[in-house]
């Protein structure tokens, strides 16, 4: 076992936690547990449904607690010597239980089924396939890194001018990004917490996702599916640039790609023709 690995790790953590302590020790509990900033146009749908479910759940759980603690208090053997003899199978008993069952179903289940079906159909599964403005990216996941491929100037994937980057995804702000993704070895999951997006990268299959961004900055992409001992290190950076900077970046990397891409190298040839289905 490589000893220095642990020393490095320990050092890294110590440095990291000092940083954190300085910046974040004043944080309130509610700030602490808030999900990371949402940079997408669709994330608020999830947030709304989450909050709705929470409020209705709190109502039902409050009823459970009132029953549980209230009855325990009122009907303890000390206070209530003689139990009321009933089998709870009279008509009104059955009606009340059935009403509770139906009440839960109608207030939570039916609503969230309806809303999430709608959101999936209209937004999350509504891929911008035919949008000419969409930024297309191919992703290849591997143990333990993310490979990203832009088509380059010619708009065709798997050609000599493709811009291929390791662990860095560059996209322009306010544009829809569409990703086709697969995996080289084991199952990974593309997890962009700031856009509330997650999908498995599965060897032998193409997964597709889309997201958009509404603010410039650096964000983290994680692997959410257990993919081996170094699963935790499988992190990439999402760089959201404004339109000018994105164009500059694209031009630069495109030139560099043309000049330096070794077309014989297998490492660069993992792309595929864009699957338009």
């Amino acid at each position: 076992m490589d000893f220095s690995f642990y020393e490095r790790l320990t050092g890294m953590i110590a440095a990291g936690s000092e940083l954190v302590l300085k910046a974040e020790e004043q944080m309130s509990f509610w700030e602490r547990v808030k999900p990371p900033v949402d940079i997408s146009s669709s994330g608020h749908l999830i947030e709304w449904l989450f909050n709705y479910t929470t409020y209705v759940n709190l109502f039902w759980f409050a009823l459970v607690c009132i029953g549980l603690f209230g009855f325990s208090f009122l009907y303890s053997a000390k206070r209530h010597k003689k139990a009321f003899y009933t089998h709870g199978n009279e008509k009104n008993h059955l009606l009340i239980t059935a009403a509770i069952g139906l009440g839960v179903f109608l207030s939570v289940d039916l609503v969230i089924t309806r809303v999430s079906s709608h959101d999936m159909k209209e937004v999350f599964w509504n891929f911008p396939e035919n949008d000419p403005e969409v930024i297309k990216v191919q992703v290849l996941a591997q143990q333990w890194a993310w490979n990203f491929r832009h088509a380059g100037k010619d708009g065709e994937f798997n050609t000599a001018d493709d811009v291929v980057e390791l662990n860095r995804l560059v996209v322009p702000v306010n544009k829809k990004v569409m990703i086709q993704m697969t995996s080289k070895d084991v199952i990974h999951a593309f997890y962009l917490v700031n856009a509330r997006i997650k999908a498995d990268a599965i060897p032998g299959r193409f997964a597709k996702i889309w997201f958009d961004t509404n603010r410039v900055g650096d964000y983290e992409i994680a692997c959410a599916e257990m993919c081996g001992p170094h699963h935790y290190l499988m992190k990439a950076r999402l760089q959201v640039l404004d339109a000018d900077n994105y164009q500059r970046w694209l031009n630069e990397t495109h030139e560099r790609a043309l000049a330096t891409n070794d077309t014989e190298s297998m490492d660069l040839r993992w792309g595929w023709k864009w699957e338009s289905r």
């Binding site: 320990t10 990291g16 009855f71 179903f105 969230i112 597709k208 935790y232």
Partner: protein, 578 residues
């Protein structure tokens, strides 16, 4: 009801036939009890190591660190961390909860509560335990080989669990071990189902069975149907690993033909979702009974509860796809699975209402089994309601594979089942060993455990909502998780606290079972009318000298016209008219 003649056999006399290869369901139940406790300790220790790593990444584990991980100076290495959470899940599900609730209580309660002298197939019963033993030995051996045990997660998704992700023999041994365990479970299940159908005492109709038996019986049915499905998946995966087939292999490593890793997920979850109900149904049954026993009041809506449990059993077989939303199944499948999953709310809400109806206007005695049962109502309320978030396809985009899922399934599968299991141990201890456990210690055990586990699992749901994903050796590689460090530490402290609280239980259990000159409990210390409380404690070798004739339901408490001076009726007594 088929009539099966049950002879009284002579009690075995030698140590070997009495305690080792015993055919007696009561001895086999105790064998499963000790087996479960051993593995519970191992699995619990693993969770402590996991929580230590998350609270203090890179810091050597005190006391045992240098012994277990000498190469890294006492720090849990990343590959070992993966092995720890894989085996923590495997052990807790298959080697702790299953033997405790199904192996121990299933064996102990079914014949006694339905009025039978033993299981219908005693040899199968004995083999069931010894297959479980073989399975445990294989799993234990896999910890001691180069490259260590399986480390692909308890779900062991290919292709990570094929040779490209798990080169060591540990994963193969894991597969063999679970296959053996599947054989054991199937044998047990066939036995339980048949016993309940054929050996119920005269007069014991299905709707006169205690709800514990309902829970165990439905569990056995699910086990018999779905454990073989897991067996098929395990076998195919073993072929992929050992014989070079490619059922589940795809991607760069699939050089000799390709299969589909998602196929395994389907096979696994067809079993895996019923499995969570396999684990929880016995606990639900036990709790439904105990709430009535200690509220001194008939179970509210008994028939509705039994039918709700049956409805959930049926529904549990058609919802497995909600574990696979992120694999991007067809939208039709995804939405069907979501809708079917949501339907489970209705029967769940009904039996929940019945539980509260049972304690309503009761005369509640807060003995330890009752406290634990009320605890189940609380934690399962939380666990059940948080399932709604995860069943929703759009919220799942955010919460899938986060600690929210971990918190949710621990609330349902770990906290509820564990508390239900404790309730059972405290409740049947006098019948099993003829001795009552110490009530004061038991109550301390309850409250400390309750505080501990709620700290752990509530904390997990909170960090999950904050976006923290699962199975990370060091989550703080990610900047967006930095602010969750204090909450993660809190979860770990809660885990250490909850673990320490179990010392009370272990001490109490060992003292009760092994202490000399311990007072005897008597036939019926709790004042309960089901069949097992009419015979001596501990139950004699043949259970019932004469097969009892059942005349009333299991929950006859508080009938105002009782003239016996008791507030309950034995099931063998004619129901007193109101």
């Amino acid at each position: 009801m088929a009539f099966v003649e049950q002879h009284i056999h002579d009690a075995p006399t030698s140590f070997w036939s009495k305690y080792v290869v015993s055919y007696d369901h009561k001895v086999i139940a105790k064998q499963f009890l000790w087996y479960a406790l051993f593995w519970g300790l191992v699995g619990g220790l693993m969770s402590i190591l996991i929580r230590w790593t998350l609270a203090y990444p890179g810091v050597p584990v005190p006391l045992i660190g240098n012994m277990l991980f000498p190469a890294s100076g006492g720090v849990v290495p990343p590959d070992t961390y993966a092995m720890l959470f894989t085996l923590h899940g495997t052990i807790m599900i298959f080697f702790f909860i299953t033997p405790l609730l199904i192996g121990c209580f299933g064996n102990y309660c079914i014949p006694l509560m339905i009025g039978a002298r033993d299981m219908i197939f005693p040899t199968l019963n004995m083999l069931s335990f010894w297959f479980a033993m073989a399975s445990g030995l294989v799993l234990f051996a896999s910890l001691c080989i180069p490259l260590g045990g399986a480390a692909g997660g308890w779900t062991s998704y290919p292709t990570l669990s094929t040779n490209i992700g798990q080169p060591g023999a540990g994963q193969t041994m894991w597969l063999i071990s679970l296959f053996l365990f599947g054989i054991s479970s199937t044998m047990g299940a066939v036995n339980y189902i048949t016993t309940v159908i054929t050996l119920r005492a005269p007069g014991m109709g299905y709707f006169k069975m205690p709800l514990t038996i309902w829970g165990l019986w439905l569990t056995a049915i699910l086990n018999a149907i779905f454990v073989p499905v897991l067996g098929a998946g395990l076998l195919l995966l073993t072929f992929d690993r050992v014989f070079g087939t490619t059922f589940f292999l795809a991607g760069a490593a699939a050089t000799s033909g390709r299969g589909d890793p998602i196929l395994f997920q389907h096979v696994f979850w067809i079993f895996g979702h019923p499995e969570v109900y396999i684990l929880i149904l016995p606990a639900w049954g036990i709790v439904s009974d105990l709430l009535s026993f200690f509220a001194r009041k008939p179970a509210f809506g008994y028939k509705m509860t039994a039918l709700s449990l049956s409805a959930i059993t049926v529904l549990s077989t058609v919802v497995y796809g909600h574990h696979m939303y992120t694999t991007q199944m067809s939208p039709l499948l995804t939405q069907s699975f979501m809708t079917l999953t949501m339907l489970i709310s209705i029967p769940s809400a009904i039996f929940f209402a019945n539980w509260l109806g049972t304690i309503w206007k009761g005369s509640i005695q807060f003995h330890s089994p009752m406290l634990f049962s009320l605890g189940v109502v609380f934690v399962f309320g939380l666990g059940g309601l948080t399932g709604l978030y995860l069943a929703s396809t759009s919220i799942d985009l955010y919460l899938h594979d986060t600690y929210f899922v971990v918190g949710h399934f621990h609330y349902t599968m770990a906290a509820s089942v564990l508390l239900g299991g404790f309730a059972g141990v405290y409740f049947w201890m006098p019948k099993m060993f003829g001795r009552m456990m110490n009530e004061t210690l038991a109550k301390w055990h309850f409250w400390l455990t309750m505080i501990g586990i709620n700290g752990i699992f509530m904390g997990m749901m909170i960090v999950g909502y904050g976006g923290m994903h699962r199975r990370l050796y060091n989550p703080f590689i990610y900047e967006f998780l930095h602010k969750l460090i204090p909450i993660n530490n809190f979860i770990s402290y809660s885990a250490f606290f909850a673990a320490a609280a179990q010392i009370l239980f272990i001490y109490n259990l060992f003292k009760t079972v092994f202490a000399k000159n311990y007072p005897a409990a008597g036939k019926n210390p709790w004042g309960v009318g089901t069949l097992e409380w009419e015979i001596d404690s501990p139950a004699p070798h043949y259970n019932f000298k004469d097969i009892p004739v059942v005349k009333c339901g299991p929950h006859e408490f508080g009938n105002p016209n009782l003239t016996t001076g008791r507030d309950y009726q034995y099931q063998t007594e004619e129901l007193v008219k109101v």
